[in-house]
Amino acid sequence: CSDDFLEVPATGQLAEAQLTTLAGLEASLIAVYSQVNGRGNRLASPSNWVWGSIRGGEANKGTDPGDFSTINPIQRFEVNAASGDVGAKWNGAYEGIARANNVLRLMTKKAADVTDADEKRISAQAKFLRAHYYFELKRDYGNTPYVDETVDYGSGLEEVSNTQDLYPFIEADLQYAVENLPATQTQVGRVNSWAAKAYLAKVYMYQNKFSQAKALYDDIIANGVTSNGLKYDLVPYYDDMFRGANDNHQESVWAYQAAANTGSVNNANPEFDLNFPYNGGPGGCCGFYQPSFSFVNSFRTDANGLPYIDGSYNDPGKSVKTDMGLQSDAPFTPDAGNLDPRLDHTVGRRGIPYLDWQDHPGAAWIRNQPNGGPYTPKKYVYQVAEKGSYQDNSSWTPGYTGINFMIIRFADVLLMAAEAEIEAGSLEKAREYVNRVRTRAKNSELKRGDGTAAANYNVGLYTAAWTDAATAKKAVRLERMLELGMEGHRFYDLIRWNTVQEELDKYLAYDGAILVAALGGAKFTDKHRLVPIPQDQIDLVGSDILIQNPGF
């Protein structure tokens, strides 16, 4: 036999040389965007419904105690390095990083048809996305091994330790993106320079680099536009942000472009497929991600329409009336007190219209009320009118949507800018930003079909001048929860503000007394500021290279 006989090429796939062309690089870049939502790994998405919102006390796992039970120790702060799913974010983010590195590595061998402008445009997007993935890792695990396009299998990958601070690398990548991305893009799904600035500002905020952040925010708020050229602004009616037809609106600084009926539900927010009411309504499954009592109570407003920034909203007389313990056939009248209407765009609760489906029936849509409480999630849930168009029926459950998930939206930018302003001493500027957000809330009353308000909404603006930084901080911080609730920010904000212990103590004491079996006795301890480095990764490279987080 000749040696040719033993040369059998690989089929149906591509080799490196075929991807160094402009088309090849562009297609490789698509894969980096693709990974942002975690591709079916429900705990790897920037929606951070478990890591950000559940750990932040906005919601609990809900559903049944035995279902997806690897989340139980996460919400109870009992995970260890070997617990299931502690590596979910790690795996998802590093796949994204590997894809970004792949683009940058291919770029070093670029073909003749790739111009310098192409290189900058493509590399800047890849670096933006790489920064995003590392930021996600940094927030959850602390420092993790920094691997870029120069390190790979066979060239020292296993030797990279996690002793270096990731933030300088993240900032460098974002800075490159700020400098090399265009202000608008022909394809709306691509990030622009304004998104890079907003992201960089956010990264500064996480490091308490307030003045650098403020400088960026001033520019962004004054001049920022979306990739499709819309000047940054708030969507006038709160719920309109979450409707598929409005995707890429003026508030969408950076969103994951979700799409239904593409041939794979991995493009249709697969991380949310369990997070719908049970036994009826949209999705029909599986009763996860149930908003907490404390979170619902925080939407209580006083006679001036202002929230209880002293945190007293859980007190008797202020807490929101619930149907806990009631079957759906038992009579129930919803709370009649003052509420922020954002509650009813964020939380499904009995007696209130659930999008355009019907009035929420309470227990009939709850899988296991004693375990998860009486509430259901509402943001990013599809309407009846969106069935089949912004919703995908090709998988085991209908709970897949083509509604973009906003990773950074303009209200988030405004509220972070408010924080930066407070740190700079410009409390009134902060108040202006907060009031801008509250004005939209005021204009977002949920109406029934007959035009009446679904509940007793009362939202007021902060009319008195802010003179005390501590009070201003409290106002901004609570506003963030009300505005961005169930969007995956809360736990990270609590860490950033260093209020995590007191806030979670309060939440676990209150909710744990009601949902005793699920949350009773749970306690946040300091080591749980970080997720443990996954044990299987330490086992692979050694505990001298991959240093475990303190306490694990």
Partner: protein, 1058 residues
């Protein structure tokens, strides 16, 4: 001195050529001619003639006053004198030096299995067969242990053609089955031999002018489903729902609050009359006839026509036995016709086979139709040509489990659903639709009967042709050249429908359809020269060969979509699916090319000392240029002690041979053909993005899918074997004994790389680690007759196995990258010093008896009375992941079989037992059935009646409660591990062969009728459905999530020859 003539006939009364006829005690002798005739001068009437022929029992005849002596030889079924087909050659067992086992062809036909390899269970020592009860399922066959982390399938060779699977074979067509176990025997297959070689040959007919012989073998019968697991009836289920609340309230230190959508809110649960009336739960009844008519008017189970409205009456009394409802007595029948004949210069065999076997679940069926046509012609005295051909149609419907049904035990399949559906739910609603968990309060099991019915119109089939053509030319009298070219072409087609569900709490949202097809083709071209010559006391047997093959190239395409305009199966095609829902995928593959040279020299001195040397050099396209070739030598020797003078006086020894061998074999099975390349791919599910913001489409991007390694080499197994073959007491006792060790090094293993490289890129297989397997193989056969009418035959096979991971990569002691996870529980760990895929987790010391017990124990998350108490292995006063330990192994220590046959005149009775000892099972199904809190509302086991309560402190079943945490249902622990040892009576057959006088009158050669019972009993301590728990792969076997049990069956049959 006088001349004696005669004819020697075989068992079919056909003249047998080449039979040695010897005057006893002399060297005078001759051999029979082509017609079996002989003529010999004998010294006197007292002379004794000895007729002997390989494979037949020797016959002695005193000449007396006869001048014509006709004898009939019958096949000698003593194992040690048989011929052994080793693929490239046919040898006498007497001359072999390696570890070789054979299986009597009729053993393959007694049990009505769909796949012939299942019949090897317990028949061959050293071969582990792990299978399940699903018809047409592929079994895990392992020869001498588990050499690697994957790709441990033996090499199958059928009529000289290597194949990946033998599922196309009809057991009635098989003439011989040989298992080559050690390197001495198998190294001639070189790089593909390290997991052993199983060689089948098919029937070929006989030469000689003879009449056509027709054999018909038929059987029909039934497989019974047996009993399911004991689940709670509706009343007990409600009572325990309340108990869970009582217990939970005590643990939470609060007052109990009883509530359930169906059972009310009182202090005692109330069973409802209706569990679902238009979505309402717990409705009293019964309705009057008029009310029912009103309800009927509202009834709707077609979701495309609006909201579902059902009326479901609660099952009463013992409730629904879902296992019983799901299963059936499954009919089977098998028919084979063999036509057998030949002329002076030709022979042929034509076999027609049909098997139709139903599974114990609905719409689960296996069917095979096969046609075999083998023939051989002598073109001249020196030149022969021949062919083997088979065409097979094979259909396996409703099979679950990956890898040809192997993975069924690890699936949450319909059998598991039967033990998750509460007994209070009936199968059907009041108006004929399916009932299910749409009735509130029962969580999310799905009605398994609806699932099975939904498979009704699904179809698939394989059609394949297989065979080879060969030519042999005798260049010299002792030198033969043989060339053979063969292959297999396989084609499959399938179409599936998925119904729009309405009866469950969690329903899908569309009617789905998928369709696909593919083909593959593999070929092999083999040329050998063999030379066999004896010079005085020196006997040589030499074979040299060259082989080239491709293990399969082909293409496939599949398409799917949802919601056609009409769901009429006559209408639904891919073209008739909405364009937006259609998905089409296809693939192409070229397989792996092998180029090989091999040779073997056997030398025998004085018929006493046997030496054998084998070497094979293989080149494979799967490896890169630098490491493409491997050389695999083996050496063995044997000493036929029984030929030594000092044993001549030991007349009880007929034959005694001591053997020993060493050799190397290779393996590249686990390695995909792309291993040497770094590759990139696009995939809508893995790497697409709606970059244009369309909300309805996604552009496909490319990411790295494979990291290549051009330096990967063969995995090598070194075997050492010593053993002996003995025949004693005039052939009444045969013993074959082997002591062996197999060390596999340079394991082909996908060494996990850090996730920092990206999880989508498959790491390459590299050569790392070592595995050790060792054991003893024993076969003891006793046979004889108490009188001429009464015969007996007892064969016992037994093998021990010790499997150990000796080394992984430097600095790496455990691998977790291949661990499966079931609902967050990871049952196994591969670690140096342990067996493959050993069970790993916390060791349950018992249950916490009371608060004091909790207080005195090491700190443990979620500890409470009645929950698991884990052993503090490292004694640090805290239960952490470091306290996990090894709690069992799925690898059996001992497997064996007993085959016992007695014959009395025309009657024959045989029994066949199989045992597997020392293996554990991870009974993951208990996660669903033995915990109330794992999907509250789904069915629970009767075992919960023995659960811990303050009054039952010594219980083994944890407290019935509603918390899922570290100390209850959330982590893998020894609660799930059970002893999987069992002894099973696999088959009892009673047969009756009609006497010769009747047959002559009817001009028949043979008529036998028989009745069999399969799997009549199983002795085991295992609490699941069946201790025979297979698995998808070497790293996931012995895990029982929803095992498809091997159950009892009864067959009747007829063997007819004329």
């Amino acid at each position: 001195q006088k001349t004696v003539t005669g004819t020697v006939l075989d068992e079919y009364d056909v003249g047998l050529p080449g039979v040695s006829v010897l005057v006893k005690g002399t060297t005078t002798g001759t051999a029979t001619d082509i017609d079996g005739k002989f003529s010999l001068n004998v010294p006197n009437d007292q002379a004794v003639l000895v007729f002997s022929f390989i494979g037949y029992s020797a016959v002695e005849q005193v000449v007396g006053n006869r001048s014509i002596i006709d004898v009939k030889l019958s096949p000698d079924e003593t194992t040690l004198t048989e011929l052994v087909v080793t693929g490239y050659t046919i040898d006498s067992r007497r001359e072999t030096t390696g570890a070789i086992a054979t299986v009597d062809p009729k053993d393959l036909t007694v049990i009505p299995t769909g796949n012939v390899e299942q019949a090897l269970q317990g028949r061959v020592s050293g071969v582990t067969v792990i299978t399940n009860g699903q018809p047409g399922t592929t079994s895990i066959i392992r020869v001498r242990g588990f050499g690697s982390f994957g790709g441990n399938e033996p090499l199958y060779v059928v009529d000289g053609v290597p194949v990946q699977s033998t599922d196309f074979l009809n057991p009635d067509d098989i003439a011989s089955t040989t298992v080559l176990k050690d390197a001495a025997a198998a190294s001639i297959y070189g790089a593909r031999a390290s997991n052993g070689v199983i060689i089948y040959t098919t029937k070929r007919g006989r030469k000689g002018n003879q009449k056509l012989r027709v054999d018909y073998n038929g059987m029909f019968g039934v497989t019974t489903p047996g009993e399911g697991l004991a689940m709670m009836n509706p009343q007990d289920f409600a009572t325990y729902t309340w108990l869970a609340e009582t217990n939970q309230a005590r643990i939470d230190n609060r007052a109990p609050k009883y509530e359930h959508p169906q059972f009310g809110t009182g202090n005692t649960p109330v069973l409802p009359y209706y569990i679902n009336v238009g979505g309402a739960a717990g409705v009293a009844g019964p309705f009057s006839a008029a009310q029912l008519e009103e309800e009927r008017a509202k009834y709707n189970v077609d979701r495309s026509k609006g909201g579902v409205y059902q009326v479901v009456r609660a099952a009463t009394g013992e409730g629904t036995d879902w296992y019983k409802e799901l299963t059936r007595n499954a009919p089977l029948n098998r028919h084979s016709i063999g036509l057998n004949g030949g002329s002076e210069t030709s022979r042929f065999f034509i076999g027609l086979g049909y098997q139709d076997q139903a599974g114990i679940m609905k719409n689960n069926n296996f069917k095979r139709i096969s046609l075999r046509a083998n023939s051989e012609f002598d073109v001249t005295k020196k030149f022969r040509i021949g062919e083997n051909f088979q065409a097979t149609y094979r259909q396996v419907l409703g099979q679950t489990g990956g890898n040809g049904g192997r993975g069924v035990s690890a699936d949450e399949n319909d059998i598991l659903q039967a033990f998750r559906m509460p007994s209070i739910i009936p199968v059907y609603d009041e108006f004929g639709g399916y009932a299910g968990t749409a009735a509130r309060g029962f969580n999310n099991p799905r009605n398994p009967i609806a699932n099975r019915d939904g498979l009704e119109n699904n179809r698939n089939f394989n059609a394949n042709i297989f065979g080879n053509v060969y030519a042999e030319y005798d260049i010299l009298e002792d030198l033969t050249f043989r060339t053979s070219i063969g292959g297999q072409y396989n084609n499959y087609y399938y179409w599936n429908y998925s119904r729009l569900q309405y009866e469950n709490s969690e329903n899908n949202s569309s009617f789905g359809y998928s369709e696909g097809a593919g083909f593959n083709f593999q070929w092999v071209f083999t040329n050998t020269v063999s030379y066999k010559k004896t010079f005085g006391k020196h006997a040589f047997d030499v074979i040299l060969g060259q082989e080239a093959l491709n293990n399969g190239s082909g293409r496939n395409i599949d398409a799917s979509g949802q919601n056609p305009f009409s769901t009429d199966t006559d209408f639904v095609t891919i073209s008739n699916l909405p364009v937006s829902s259609r998905q089409v995928n296809s693939g192409l593959f070229r397989g792996v090319n092998f180029a090989s040279y091999f040779g073997r020299v056997n030398y025998t001195f004085n018929d006493k000392y046997l030496f054998s040397a084998v070497v094979r050099r293989d080149g494979s396209s799967v490896f890169g240029e630098n490491s493409r070739y491997g050389v695999f030598p083996a050496f063995s020797a044997a000493w036929r002690m029984s030929s030594e003078p000092f044993l001549q006086s030991a007349t009880w020894i007929d034959e005694l041979k001591v053997r020993g061998g060493w050799g190397q074999m290779g393996n590249s099975n686990p390695v995909p053909s792309t291993n040497q390349f770094s590759l990139f791919g696009g995939n809508v599910g893995a790497s697409s993005y709606d970059v244009g913001g369309t909300n309805s489409s996604a552009q496909i991007g490319f990411r790295r899918t494979t990291i290549g390694n051009p330096n990967t080499q063969w995995e090598t197994a070194v075997t050492k074997n010593i053993g002996f073959d003995g025949t004693f007491f005039n052939g009444r006792l045969d013993v074959i004994f082997d002591l062996w060790q197999k060390d596999t090094k340079d394991l082909l293993f996908q060494l996990p790389i850090p996730q920092t490289a990206g999880s989508n890129a498959t790491p390459p297989f590299v050569n790392i680690g070592q595995m050790k397997n060792a054991g003893v193989d024993l076969l003891v056969a006793v046979k004889g007759n108490l009188s001429s009418a009464f015969t007996y035959d007892l064969t016992v096979t037994g093998s021990t196995l010790k499997n150990e991971i000796v080394a992984l990569a430097p600095g790496l002691n455990i691998i977790t990258s291949i661990n499966p996870s079931y609902r967050g529980i990871q049952p196994i760990r591969n670690q140096v010093g342990q067996s493959l895929s050993a069970f790993f987790g916390y060791k349950v010391e018992g249950l916490f008896r009371n608060a004091e017990d909790v207080a005195n124990h090491a700190t443990q998350d979620g500890a409470a009375p009645g929950r698991f108490k884990y052993e503090d292995i490292n004694g640090d006063g805290e239960i952490t992941p470091d306290d996990r330990t090894f709690i069992g192994s799925p690898v059996p220590d001992f497997t064996g079989g007993v085959n016992f046959t007695v014959g009395y005149k025309g009657l024959d009775l045989s029994m066949y037992l199989y045992t597997s000892i020392g293996n554990e099972i991870w009974n993951q199904s208990r996660w669903f059935t033995d915990f109330y809190q794992t999907f509250e509302g789904a069915a629970i086991s009767e075992r919960l009646k023995d659960a811990w309560t303050p009054e039952n402190l010594d219980a083994e079943i944890p407290v019935v409660e509603k918390t899922a945490n570290f100390s209850t249902s959330n982590v893998g622990n020894s609660f799930y591990v059970e002893d999987g040892s069992y002894l099973r009576l696999q088959n009892v057959t009673l047969g009756y062969t009609l006497p010769a006088n009747l047959l002559e009158r009817w001009r028949l050669e043979r008529v036998r009728v028989f009745a069999s019972a399969n799997n009549l009993f199983t002795i085991t301590g295992y609490s699941g459905l069946d201790p025979a728990v297979g698995g998808n792969a070497d790293t996931t076997f012995g895990i029982d999530v929803g095992n498809y049990p091997v159950t009892s069956g009864y067959t009747f049959g007829l063997n007819l020859s004329f």
